[in-house]
Amino acid sequence: MRALIATVVVVLLCSLGALPQGKLVITDQAGRSVEIETPVERVVSLYGVATMYLYALGVQDRLVLGTYVGLRPETPPWEALSAVDPDLPEKYSRAKPSLEEILAREPDLVLASATIDRETADGLSAFGVPVLLLHAEDVQGIKEATEILGKVFGTEERVARLIAYLGESVERIRGLMAEKGLEAPRVLFVGTRPLRVASGDMYQTELIRLAGGIPVAEELRGYWQNVDIEQVLLWDPEVIFIAPYGKVFPEDLFADPVWRAVRAVREGKVYKMPRVFAPWDVPTPESFLGLLWMAAKLHPELGIDVVAEAQAFYRDFYGYELSEAILSVIAG
């Protein structure tokens, strides 16, 4: 009897600790049904956004080759990411790797973008390599993509925690704003040039809305759009955010007499977004923190302590301690 109980306990313990074993059938975000052998040990990611979720789920050691969001070697984000992934130089791919390069890494699974990688997916499928097409370009897409990744890597609990963090942040901002009866200011999001702005179809615009702002450029369609300074004067944004990448800084706008006619510039409310691993304005996990940072800038009355939030977030999801330098950037 005792032997039986011992066996049962051992079996139970094993099944608790083990990775999901066997076959999984997953419907990806392009609606394809993909069969995957688990456990997945070798992953190639052609989708920079998806790559960043592997880090947040703590499975970066299974990544064997990946593209990253605007990451260049020997930069501060590179140093930061190297700290949580010492193998970064071996798995980093500057551009989309060729078919042979992907096959040479002998992946069990390839993650790719549902918008641009369909052909590559067909090519890889011919070699029997399963490809999941993901599309994490807005909050809904992020939820679906992370759910898929959670199933694949057996990290559902971590995914739930990550998505809960986003949901709670959204609720917290909404609740506090209602409680304090705050008005939503007009907000412009600027990219790699001062007059290149985020359109209404972009994640940045969704972040502005969730952070309690009114995106002035939401009528624009597509990707980044070039606009006229007269259009900016017409919008007269009360706050301007600048993307973390690119060479535009608040000082450039403060120094420009024409831009000084814009309310946000006149009142000094122009902010460059921080970046730790990936830029905080692209739909990676770190954008959840970008949302809180935005809300804190739009509504100082909410009393959000972004520095403490950031420290906890990076410690919790990446096991990473933010440096003094980056903390002072975040504190702004």
Binding site: L65, S93, R94, A95, K96, P97, S98, L99, E100, E101, L103, A104, T115, I116, E119, T120, G123, A126, F127, G128, G222, Y223, W224
Partner: protein, 332 residues
Amino acid sequence: MRRGRIWPVLFLFPVGAVFVYLLVGRYPLSPGEVFGALFRPEDVAPTVLRLVWSVRLPRALVAALVGANLALAGAAFQGVFRNPLVDSRILGVSAGAAFGAALAILMGVPWAYVDGISFLFGLVAVGMVIFIARRFGGTVIVLVITGVLVGSLFSALIGVTKYLADPLDVLPAITYWLLGSIPEIPGWAPVGKLSVVAALAGGALILSRWRLNVLSLEGREAAALGLDVARWRTGVILAGTLLVASAVSQAGMIGWIGLLIPHAARALLGPDHARVLPAAAAMGAGFLLVIDILARSLMESVIPLGILTGIVGVPAFLLLFMKHLARGGGWG
């Protein structure tokens, strides 16, 4: 090297290059595996078999045929227009074919039909040139000017497609296509299409090599020798157009081959088209194979061919040109 001995070398160059092509790639295949796949397919792993037969071999043949077709067309055009600066892009055929492809990608036409539409627009462009030039006398200078104009028109139209394209998915596809590349998994259809055009149009050119020699004289002299100059010129232009349109429709805009290779052939073998045409075909095939080997092995991603042919082509052209001037030569 004496001329008699140069022919075996010229034709072994592309054949040898195909073998090297099969051996080189990011996926580590041993020579034994490659030759096994070629000659004893039942003994090798399916991945190896597929890499050799569906990826590397058709890709090598596409590269060879595209190179041969562009070089042949360039040699024929240089003869007909009696101008050393002419290359395969004269008469707007490349721009037309590129616009056709860009338009097809923009309209979301399935990839299988993009090459056909591209080919068609290449013919349309040259049809326009011939039609317009005829009304203004159809002399060489009128043809060249009309060609430049129609080419510019189609370049502007390419600009329109890029402007209208969705920058997230469609624009990168168009841009990458325009830079020129051999498809990663071409399959055998492009090999078939290119071979048919190469055999028909290339064969016709090589058969009429003597008339090309006469056409490359002054028009009056040619007429005095009893040749219907206008008709033969149109015939050569049509053959060249088919060659260029087939190449561009499969591999995008690859510059320099149509300019550089015919000069190299002439530098080696003198001006006689009976020698220049077959030599240009062989050298064009070998040159593009070498370039594509570099494009696929230098980095983990594939470098667009248009970039590499330019980087290799410009210094090579300068070298040829300087040598020629040092010998006190003009062009003719």
